[in-house]
Amino acid sequence: MSDLNFDYALLIPEFILVGTAILIIMADLFRKELGLGRLVLPAIAALGTIAAGAASLAYIDDVDDFANVIAIDNYTTFFRVLFTVVLLVVVVSGYEYVERNIRHTGEFYALLLLSTVGAIYMAGARELLTAYISIELLSFSLYVAVSLAKTNPRSAEAGLKYVLLGGVASAMLLYGMSLIYGTAGSTQYSEIAAAFSGGTSEYGFALLLGLVLLIAGLGFKASAVPFHMWTPDAYEGAPLPITAYLSATSKAATFALLLRIFAGPLLPVIDQWQWMMATIAVMTMVGGNLIALQQTNIKRLLAYSSIGQVGYMLMAITTISDASASALLVHVAGYLITNLAVFSAVIAFHNRTGKEELDDFAGLAETNPYLAMVLTAGMFSLAGMPLLAGFVTKFILFQAAASGGYLWLATVAVIASTISLYYYLQVIRRMYLLEPARGESGRWRLSPAGYIATGTLTAGVFLVGIYAGPLFTVADRAARVLALS
């Protein structure tokens, strides 16, 4: 334990992010004195994010760790890049919204940057304490960010509900961690794995309880049924860019953590958690997609749809293997791109109309065909239609599950996915088949940032759908770090 590697150069991307956050808060404080324009803060945030993302590329194929607590390997690099991209998208597509609807814009960007640091370390953690701190860094930033909307009376309530339920979940997670620490004797992933692979019969009930609590706590963070109750409320109450961020980074980071834990230290005790994970996966897939059928608010619809997506991802954890790990990474990346495309479009729509009920989307194909096209592509991708990202990534996921001997789980997933098409169609139907509300039939355009964000993301959705090879290769290299058989 004495020869720890304290090479701070390994953490440069996060230093950049934190530095940018501090810079933004300072700039916000002295905004008036310095005479800063309204674009300065988002510009700083965007530049810092780009710098961090670029810096992460320097670590490709590194196999290193910082003081035994944070692994710097392809897996971490994969998520570093992914999360900085998400952050960039949220900043670019959201700044207009933020300007209008957020109380403290400086804090808003700073919190986003900090939460991204948390998300990255969730992926990189190779030790329970680090994992816990990272989770809390992400969660706390989001608790506050959710309640920052000044126009929406639901925002503060959503924040309060989120923080209380999140606190309960964290406590359960912690108790689970303490039991695993107690049974394995260490918080290091590698040592836990070593301890458990030597046989676990002597730990009995304590280990089982620990696993239950751990899954419940992480299931809450990932919004798996039945721990999903907070999701629709937080999504609805949060400012739209934060909703996008919640559905993207917050989910992906949880799965980054889940995958590292369940493919590493907890792999030896797979028999004890696999059935739990399978049960939750089924409940989440079916529940999320069924409840989504009756939503009338676009944010809530997307909340339940993202719950459904979580179910597919949990399926990959259940059937853990080399194939399903890389399939999960591919799916997470594809899901992020798609979901952000949808959210960027919804944000652009809200910027213009200030509305977010499904019925408000009536006739969008006439008033803004471009936006309607983006939403259609995004939603069909979420439903898993071909030539779009969702088809390829879901397919790979189902295939991995089936080849892992979980054909029944893949069957449930296919059926759930079929159900999901129906509610996505409800949105598309409104856009294309209904007439726009009276007095709103004029054409309108997006802001340039809106065009850039939605255009790039939609292109990404098509690119992944048509030529997923490179993404697959990258995900494969990232997943190989986990050293599953």
Binding site: I133, F140, V163, V168, Y175, L179, G182
Partner: protein, 113 residues
């Protein structure tokens, strides 16, 4: 449990488990935001107790090449995080109270579940 875990450890864990149970019951049944927060604090303290007990008395740690110190460190961090959590939650509670004059979660119902 074999001889690795002594009787004393079991005692500590029982207490910790009971506190955790009370905490979770409070957190999930109370409808007042402040009470829920108190429940969460109880749960976190139960966690701390468990960590300390494992770190001090978990007999199989040395054999497994384990790290008793990690438990202590964990507790310090949990305490800190719990304080931060209370700060955030109370701030939000105040925010809601200003607007709605209540922190009863059942009455904060602008959104349906």
């Amino acid at each position: 449990m074999s001889d690795g875990l002594s009787v004393e450890l079991a005692h500590y864990l029982s207490v910790s488990g009971i506190i955790f149970g009370i905490g979770i019951a409070v957190a999930l049944s109370k409808r007042n935001a402040i009470a829920v927060l108190m429940g969460i604090e109880l749960m976190l303290n139960a966690v701390n107790l468990a960590f300390i007990a494992f770190a001090r008395l978990g007999g199989n740690f040395e054999a497994a090449g384990g790290d008793p110190l990690a438990g202590h460190v964990f507790v310090v961090f949990v305490l800190t995080v719990a304080a931060a959590e209370a700060a955030v939650a109370l701030a939000l509670a105040v925010l809601v109270y200003r607007r709605r004059e209540t922190v009863d979660l059942d009455r904060i119902t602008l959104m349906r579940w």
